[in-house]
Symmetry: C2
Subunit: 202 residues, 2 copies
DNA sequence: GAAGCTTTTATACATACGTATAATAATAAA
DNA sequence: TTTATTATTATACGTATGTATAAAAGCTTC
């Protein structure tokens, strides 16, 4: 007679996977309710775990927030690295920016929620600086390569700032009020601005 | 013998003034701690009143938040109306944008904190749409007048979107990490972009 | 100076919050 | 099969939260 094995009351998974699950749940909560939706109860309910796991795996809620931010930026940079290294047209440059930026509407809300926290949360600020520098460098490099290929002389650092700021602004606009701006129009405005800036003398 | 009059335990001021005080205190709290710093305790401590006044004068904390947003936008629009109606140079246009945008670093944090809430707070969303439409209209009008004066034909609505988005993006960048961008450089990038866009054919 | 009105305070209340704790149970190792 | 490890749960605890309530007190009007 075989021993009757009871159904396990919970599944035990490797720490790395559990952390990833909690990070995913955190992002979902940020998307739904902004930084105010980022609570232990919400996150653990979303992840389907008990309340203790955040402390166990991250030490604190704030550490989980920093981890979530790192994960989001990680995805962004990863996508960027998959893109062609040196876009050879304005369209290519714009495509590079928007492939990562306008991934999904939910993600926009997450960025916005996190941005609002960075200024008042040192741990997040640290995480931001680290990742943003990589991001900016990557964009500036692409612009630089593009300009070199076209024989245009520009300050790629300046153009990168313009491009990133414009995309962030369009993004923000799209996030706050979806009815004002479509992805296609955002791309188009970006393309037009970039073309004008790169064509201008100086 | 005159009656000894005890010092009043509190000052009673007109509802409008009290509301303004609470709105000011709200903005200060948002600047310090983001949306998470926007609590009844913080606000009333900042305003130097007891906890009951928010409910009494606004009905709810959320209504106060909407009022604070309206007040901030009100100041923005007011400043804009004081500016010259039709800037006649690129510098004038840029000046118009930045006179309101970069008022103070504290205000940047407030905008950022509020932006993060708009997507998840219907009352704020309503207040935003109303004011943003006025803002955008005002900017587009100035651009339109400028172009007409110079004999340039443009879609002022498009250029307004570009300009506003760029300024918001620069603003965001400045807010998140002050070490990356000075006001002067932000203005300069804006000027340069605007000049290029307005000079471009089409 | 007295009455009435409404601002203002003080307090109470139920809920939500982040974290600490101890018990439990799933897995790996022996 | 037994033991050891640690992921996981359940719960407790103190604090913070937004709002409701009632008492107190300032101001206006007569």
């Amino acid at each position: 007679m075989t021993k009757k094995s009871a159904a396990p009351k919970f599944e035990r998974i490797p720490p790395g996977e559990r952390r990833a699950l909690l990070v995913e749940a955190s992002i979902a909560c940020l998307a739904k309710g902004g930084i105010q939706g980022f609570t232990v109860d919400n996150i653990c309910a979303e992840a389907g775990t008990s309340r203790g796991l955040i402390t166990h795996h991250f030490g604190s809620k704030n550490a989980l927030l920093a981890a979530a931010y790192a994960a989001i930026y990680g995805k962004l940079l990863e996508n960027l690295d998959r893109a062609e290294q040196a876009p050879e047209s304005i369209d290519g440059l714009v495509g590079m920016m928007f492939a990562d930026s306008f991934l999904s509407r939910d993600y926009l809300n997450v960025w916005l929620a996190l941005w609002g926290e960075i200024a008042v949360n040192p741990a997040l600020q640290l995480e931001h600086r680290k990742n943003y520098a990589l991001y900016r460098e990557r964009i500036a490099r692409a612009i630089s390569a593009f300009a070199r290929g076209k024989g245009v002389t520009i300050d790629s650092y300046d153009v990168a700032t313009i491009l990133i700021s414009l995309v962030d602004g369009l993004w923000l606009e799209q996030c706050i009020d979806q009815s004002l701006l479509s992805l296609d129009r955002a791309k188009d405005l970006c393309r037009r601005t970039l073309a004008a800036v790169l064509a201008a003398p100086g």
